[in-house]
């Protein structure tokens, strides 16, 4: 039991606690006969209920821990199955069953963990302070947190396994398409929606048997309909049945009508997608229009700045190259020298 092991790493004081409870009970029991029955009953119930609550809490926590461990084991099995990406031996049904089971267990564990938390809160609210010490509350809080962390890890692993599974399925589909395309010698037209599905369903589905009754035709319809316009395979099986039984007329008509209805739905959804794409395109183009306007403004600013700077520089050049100031400056410098010279010498 991993939960028990975890609890012991937090200094298990359960024995001390049960000892205290016993001593208290013994001390209260002689006085219970004298006191009012309700008050004593209430006080006598307290330590027992505290002990009961505590052991109930630990029992539940250990159960949850065990269940988490089992779920993670199943998850590792599922991961192994999902990694087995062989083209022909596809354990789809097992994987799906395992997935459903694991999902149920995880949701059940979630609920149990929430219950555990509620029980702990009830414990800490109902009882008096003397029966629930600070250590116990922190201990129970730590236990609940640990269990929650482990459940979160398990859920994350589960999600990873599911993504791995979908990737593998996509790879398998591509491989199947490649193989079946080679065998049919079709031109590589990406717009062709009809895939040579007559070869595909046979290796991967054991269900469609030619002597199966009409009920199986619906199940074989469900699986190929998952792949889009796959009318060829159910009709293939149905035509085989027809050669032996003549009771399949009505399902065939329905299949035909259903196929037409399905194709119409496809067209409608494609048109919706197209409209979405168009709106997105329009949004993006308008946003980029704003950016273009900003660029334009920046360029105009630059132009104005450069023109101003150019005018300043021409003015500067004019002022430098004109001689008038220069002559006056030289004259003043000479006069100053003369003054100084005369002043000091004479």
């Amino acid at each position: 039991m991993q939960a028990r092991h975890v609890q012991s790493s937090y200094r298990d004081r359960t024995d001390e606690f049960s000892g205290i409870v016993e001593s208290r009970r013994r001390s209260i029991a002689p006085t219970a006969a004298n006191n009012a029955p309700y008050g004593s009953g209430g006080r006598r119930e307290d330590p027992r209920s505290a002990a009961a609550n505590q052991s109930e809490f630990s029992k539940r926590a250990s159960l949850i821990g065990l269940a988490i461990h089992q779920t993670s084991q199943k998850l590792s099995k599922l991961a192994q199955l999902a990694k087995r990406s062989s083209v022909f031996d596809d354990p789809t049904r097992e994987i799906q069953e395992l997935t459903v089971v694991i999902k149920q267990e995880i949701s059940g564990l979630n609920g149990a963990l929430l219950d555990l938390q509620a029980v702990r809160n009830n414990n800490s609210h109902d009882n008096d302070e003397r029966s629930i010490s600070r250590d116990t509350t922190s201990h129970s809080a730590t236990v609940v947190d640990d269990l929650k962390n482990r459940l979160m890890d398990t859920t994350k692993e589960f999600k990873d396994v599911l993504t791995l599974r979908t990737e593998n399925m996509k790879i398998q589909e591509d491989r199947m398409k490649k193989f079946s395309k080679i065998s049919s010698k079709e031109s590589a037209n990406p717009f062709v929606r009809q895939r040579p599905l007559a070869s595909k369903p046979s290796p991967s589905q054991p269900a469609p048997l030619p002597w199966a009754n009409g009920s199986s035709s619906s199940s074989s319809q469900l699986v190929p309909s998952r792949q889009g316009e796959a009318e060829s395979s159910p009709l293939l099986q149905q035509s085989q049945q027809q050669q032996q039984q003549q009771q399949q007329m009505v399902p065939l008509q329905d299949t035909y009508m259903q196929n037409r209805a399905e194709a119409l739905h496809n067209v409608e959804s494609t048109i919706h997608e197209l409209s979405n794409i168009f709106t997105q395109l329009a949004t993006m183009v308008s946003q980029q229009g704003e950016i273009a306007i900003r660029i334009d403004q920046n360029m105009e600013d630059t132009l104005a700045n450069v023109e101003g700077a150019q005018s300043q520089l021409t003015r500067y050049l004019n002022s430098i190259s004109s001689n008038r100031w220069l002559m006056i400056k030289i004259f003043f410098v000479l006069i100053a020298f003369l003054m100084v010279f005369l002043f000091f010498v004479a």
Partner: protein
């Protein structure tokens, strides 16, 4: 995606064999010596299937490597021999069209036919060649195909618009840098101009 043959028959009541009213087949992909036998085979299987198709019903039968689709409408039966890849819905819409066309051009005269008519019906031969591509027969398929093409083109457009957006972003940055630089240039020029009027 090949149509091998198209037949129009009059499906008589159960006892008698159906009467062939029109026949068109494309046996070019068989060897020369096999062609006549293939035609006979087509006739025979067509008769069998048509006799087994109840009125106002559609039926598809797999025979060797062909799929035989049959549509019986009030005694007038259209049978088509297609390969496995031909989509079934297009096949049946094609048979619908054939029957409508036949009724339009021949009215009710076929009801009195007692033996196989050997006159070729040009429409059927044309239909055979035209409808080798299933999209022609089935409008839905054509629409779906065009929509898919459009979707792909739109995806490419959006990719190029995103690239344009990136380029515009880089342009905006460069232009803002340029405007900053020009502002500094202007300030420097003004500083050198206004400061040292002497010397």
């Amino acid at each position: 995606m090949k149509i091998t043959a198209l037949l129009v028959l009059k499906a008589a009541p159960e006892a008698t064999d159906p009467v062939i009213l029109a026949n068109a087949s494309d046996v070019s992909h068989f060897g020369y010596f096999q062609r006549s036998s293939v035609k006979e085979f087509v006739v025979f299987v067509g008769r069998t299937v048509a006799s087994r198709t109840p009125p106002s019903q559609r039926q598809s039968v797999q025979h060797e490597e062909y799929k035989v689709h049959a549509y019986n409408r009030n005694g007038l039966c259209a049978v088509g021999f297609m390969d496995d890849h031909y989509p079934v819905r297009s096949a049946f819409s094609l048979l619908n069209q054939v029957i409508d066309e036949y009724q339009k051009s021949f009215g009710e005269t076929w009801r009195s036919a007692k033996e196989d008519s050997s006159q070729p019906w040009p429409y059927l031969a044309q239909a055979l060649t035209k409808f080798q591509d299933p999209a022609e027969a089935d409008k839905l398929l054509k629409i779906q195909r065009e929509l898919d093409e459009t979707k792909i083109i739109l995806h490419k457009t959006i990719d190029s618009v995103l690239a344009r957006g990136e380029k515009l972003d880089s342009l905006v940055e460069k232009s803002s840098d340029l405007s900053m630089a020009s502002q500094m240039f202007y300030k420097q020029a003004k500083k050198t101009n206004s400061c040292c009027t002497i010397l």
